[in-house]
Homo-oligomer: 419 residues x 2
């Protein structure tokens, strides 16, 4: 059993504890052992978090607890968090953090301190997207040519809204604040600083380069107006806040700023609060990673992935993902029981009464039609293009047989499922 | 030093050997040791592959070589490959394969055989995309609700071409064959079998479920016509060959077929020969992985990532990706030296000669204009919206200062970089 202590039981911390309980079946099967949260540190002891863990307001209760194997740091901020994780490492504990500011300033000191323990931080960049995992372990064969990231969901929500609905900057900021996507003081997000912290972490993994936020170009989206968005649309661009790392000979360019980017690029297609990171390797070419960049459960998903990594350390990670097989629990669904919406193309002789007889067969098979389009294919023949509401595969298969048997149907109907 | 033997030195095998040499600097820094290919097995000894490795036509020369640590299986096919990797494991060697058919039929036997060695297969699904890595290690906190994959680049190329250019199925297949994307007998790709092999591998990792290709619904794209594509476009759908795994209570649905999918879905935006996999976890929500699904170098990138994993086994993977720091080699580029295209919004009093004086300043700063749009903002004022060709950051910054100083310029110009 692996015992976890959480520093900072807020939204993400509560999700970590809750998911480790809710999904204990798959998590322990994948990790090869049980993982439980023993205790958590909070500022306000009076608030009930609905968790059956020990709650304390003293970090040392976790850091000095010999039973705790893994310390999860979710306090935020730089100095206090640095002191806490340093002490955790000195006390022989593995550490998992979601704290991007801590890493933007102290990642190389932490790498030195963590020689004998794990120090993991998947949740610090792009929330639930396993981008650290991909960049550090999945693309090791490559010189990284460039990284381009939509690393801040607040900015991407605002830029998308301005582009799609022509809303002015101030109005969309107000709306983002009302929805809880932006803080009362939005500077950290809209000024590009949050994205910069994340970019510096990615740049270290890609290039082994040390740089602090103060060393790089950081601009935000606060100068972008509706006129700019209209120009962008007219000339085939999207506007995004991008974090960019680019190798140029022996130099690395690091910058965060609003950017016009061709609508054909995959990264320009990432809209709303979602995050995405495009990585170009000299051998693999472009790969792109997309998903939720924030939210309690999504961030906790990344934190727990790191805890599972730690639980597996020293053992071999199971080849097919599960240490114990899961087959007993899940079985293959029979094809007949698949449900889907369907599209059918039926080639018929164009006679009176054809449509009535065919639609009657749909009704007999309990299949409800959504749209019908009829297109002539010759003077005598026509295609019926029909989409359905959700139906059962066995009913559709039966319907197709019945339709095929009709004398005015010329070819086997073609069926394509609608997903 | 880690020594590698390659079974099958074709396109991918040659890329593996070449990249391990070309990118030895980053690969050894990340792996913590040197990785070299010692020998390779081929069918035709006469053909020169331009590699300085031992070439043999006898697999046992590799499998029985006590110096070989890792066997890379790139032979393809099922039975011969199975016999070879089985012997490799029995001889105590770690194995890396790109062979999806082998895994579609024998993955659970191989998991049992590989208790004491690594058996890795990142390249077997979606080529260069580290999807095995993401699904097996990055999303361990989640019950996987569904996987939807564009797993066959040939089919995706054909579907994209039919949709974008209205080309008929037969013509686009012929073109794919001429470009080398499709085989002379294209059944394995267009019939959905290749995608099905890959789907079965993903389903094992997500659900721990054993199923063979014969057990699941497999249909191809060969019935899709231009009429279907036109209908899809009219009703807001893309057409893709999808591999789908979906959990429904205690059952798992596995199916491969052409599908109409709403154009708003991220996966519908993946075009051409590219692959992509959307994974929905109960906690993280949707994450998506995009990249090249085939090609020698892209596939080799995934093979080498697995070899690096093996080199790191037992050691802790370096926190920031590099075991030895790389800082000495790469330095941060100064902001002044950044090159980009630029967009400028300049608010001016609308007088004669304004445009001439402003464009002259562009010329003086060696900045070439690509487009100019002028839009009135009031009776007396106008916005000039200007995009440039590639220019130097320091020139643009100087230009902005000069423009700002002009008496008919009302506000500080806004600049957005074009990426």
């Amino acid at each position: 059993m692996l015992k976890v202590g959480i520093l900072g039981v807020g939204t993400v911390g509560t999700s970590v504890a809750q998911i480790l309980k809710d999904n204990a079946d798959v998590i322990s099967a994948r990790a090869g052992c049980e993982i439980v949260v023993k205790s958590g540190v909070v500022k306000n002891l009076a608030k009930d978090r609905g968790l059956d863990i020990i709650i304390t307001d003293n970090v040392d209760d976790v850091l000095n607890d010999p039973e705790i194997d893994v310390v999860v740091e979710l306090m935020g901020g730089v100095d206090e968090a640095y002191a806490a994780v340093k002490k955790a490492l000195q006390n022989g504990k593995d550490v998992v953090t979601a704290n991007k500011a801590l890493l933007a300033y102290h990642r190389y000191e932490l790498q030195d301190l963590a020689k004998d323990q794990a120090f993991e931080y998947e949740a610090a960049v792009a929330g639930g997207i396993p981008i650290i995992n991909a960049l550090r372990d999945g693309l090791t064969a490559n010189h990284i040519e460039s990284i381009m990231g939509i690393l801040n969901g607040t900015c991407n929500y605002m830029m998308t809204k301005m582009a799609n609905e022509g809303v002015a900057y101030d109005a969309v900021l107000k709306e983002a604040q009302e929805l809880g996507y932006a803080e009362a003081d939005p500077t950290f997000d809209v000024g590009g600083f949050d994205a910069a912290h994340k970019l510096l972490i990615l740049a270290s993994i890609a290039y082994g380069i040390d740089a602090k936020p103060e060393d790089i170009l950081i601009e935000g989206i606060d100068k972008v107006s509706s006129e700019d968005v209209a120009f962008a649309k007219e000339f085939g661009y999207a506007i995004k806040l991008l974090g960019i790392a680019k190798k140029d000979g022996s130099e690395v360019e690091l910058r965060v700023h609003a950017a016009l980017i061709s609508k054909d690029e995959m990264i320009a297609k990432i809209d709303g609060v979602m995050n995405g990171v495009s990585v170009v390797g000299d051998k693999v070419g472009e790969t792109l990673y997309y998903g939720p960049g924030a939210g309690g459960d999504a961030t906790a998903s990344a934190v727990i992935a790191n805890i599972v990594d730690i639980a597996r350390a020293g053992k071999r990670s199971p080849m097919l993902g599960f240490d114990k097989p899961m087959e007993g629990k899940l079985t293959l669904k029979s094809t007949d029981k698949i449900e889907s919406k369907y599209y059918l193309r039926i080639n018929v002789s164009d006679k009176t009464g054809v449509l009535a007889r065919i639609t009657k067969l749909f009704e007999n098979n309990n299949i409800s039609i959504q749209t019908i389009v009829q297109k002539s294919t010759s003077k005598t023949d026509a295609n019926l293009l029909i989409s359905t509401h959700t139906a059962m595969e066995k009913d559709i298969q039966n319907l197709i047989k019945e339709i095929e048997a009709l004398d005015f149907v010329n070819k086997t109907p073609v069926m394509i499922r609608i997903v």
